[in-house]
Symmetry: C2
Subunit: 251 residues, 2 copies
């Protein structure tokens, strides 16, 4: 028995999210089907976390246990040959200790939320970024707001009560706004994220950029532990899971 | 009666090309439908040229004659509100002389052909670039080949005998290869292009990059006027019509 870890990129546009569900047509279903075609054994994979319908990934991570003797360096090519074109195994497959678990072993995750501020949306990126043309967003205010999210906080204000979490406390290691041409990217790295957390952060930042929520109010909005006081949940397709990190080093 | 000119960007993935055809589902059909919804009059548009199925545009140009009194600055927003999300009117609509014709008045067109050279294709750009992972392409050889295309030539070797052209002579004003990360972009600007010309140039350049066609043989391949001696027609989805220029200045 081996435990194999892989990294996968996907365009989530055509899927009902990452995690397998009765209705099918999820990224996990597609990957498990590819593994079954390859190994002739039904195999369950464990993802680092779910992503919602239309949410994307550049570096989602999953692992699975297998009796297959396929050489570790062959897995990527073999699965890619069997996967649809909107899902790609990237980087090298790795054999990991049997107790490695993509979700429980994850130390840090990085998400990106992309906003297009040009007058017309970009037809080639229409499924990958929120289009917000008017009026101009105040980047300085947005950066002041982002800084207040860094650190250990109770993020009850920034989640949807979708399913039970033992705790709403999470640590954000970094939160930054990058600008290139008409594109604004919000990058957030943390030890974990609550349901809809990055999308609510994005929706709140847009309100801050519009001057509808004061830039310096984020700390008090966190303390209020009240979802209704922050911004709306931004559309799913602007969100991309960039990376999942398993190293102990938190620098 | 007014003659109105517009610029349009489209993701050609879901269309059978630009030009209207009996089967429908073309970009022209979609634009004419939007104009009809807006003006309640069936209106024929004239594109600067056809683009094939799955070929894209950042700056296709079309014009149409209309009795509508809608103000010129309102056309873009009004049509965008009625167009599917993979087609966007960009820039400003312009009123042009009644005899302006998007195809016959065009002075220069610029196309881009994009190639992705990374080991795995980019899931977010899979419909917009040719994936050519192995082996490494010789950029220097490709540039030497491109230079020989510049100037006035008979491009019979670089076209598919699809429909009758009065002449196969065209002038290429510039042809260059740009590289950014794992992406190679071939930009070609000319006074006109034969059917499949840019895709055959791209297919030939890849052969040159692979060392299968000598870099200095392009001039003799042009002189041979023989389609079978050059490279294959590269896949349509790597091709994008970047711009159509109507100014007299050829600098």
């Amino acid at each position: 028995m081996r435990n194999i870890r892989m990294k996968v990129a996907y365009d989530g546009t055509g899927y009902y999210g990452f995690q397998a569900q009765p209705g099918g047509n999820t990224v996990q279903d597609a990957i498990e089907q590819a593994i079954e075609t390859l190994t002739e054994t039904r195999t369950r994979i464990i993802g680092s976390g779910r992503t919602d319908a239309r949410v994307h990934a550049l570096g989602q991570v999953f692992n699975f246990h297998t009796e297959s003797r396929i050489a570790i360096e062959r897995w990527g090519l073999a699965l890619n040959a069997r996967l649809p074109h909107d899902i790609r195994i990237v980087g090298r497959a790795e054999e990991v200790p049997l107790d490695f678990h993509s979700r429980f072993s994850a130390k840090r995750k990085t998400y990106r939320y992309s906003i297009c501020t040009s007058q017309y949306h970009d037809v080639f990126r229409r499924n990958y970024e929120l289009h917000h043309p008017a009026p101009v967003l105040d980047r300085h205010a947005m950066r002041i707001a982002l800084e207040q999210l860094v650190g250990e906080h109770d993020f009850t204000s920034f989640t949807t009560n979708h399913y039970d979490e033992r705790s709403h406390v999470r640590t954000i290691y970094s939160a930054e706004l990058r600008e290139e041409g008409h594109r604004l990217d919000i990058f957030v790295t943390g030890n974990g994220f609550l349901y809809n957390m990055v999308r609510i952060i994005a929706g709140t930042l847009i309100r801050v950029g519009q001057g509808k929520i004061p830039a310096d109010s984020i700390t008090s909005l966190l303390e209020a532990r009240d979802r209704v006081k922050v911004g709306p949940t931004a559309v799913p397709y602007g969100l991309t899971l960039i990376d999942v990190d398993y190293s102990e080093n938190t620098d």
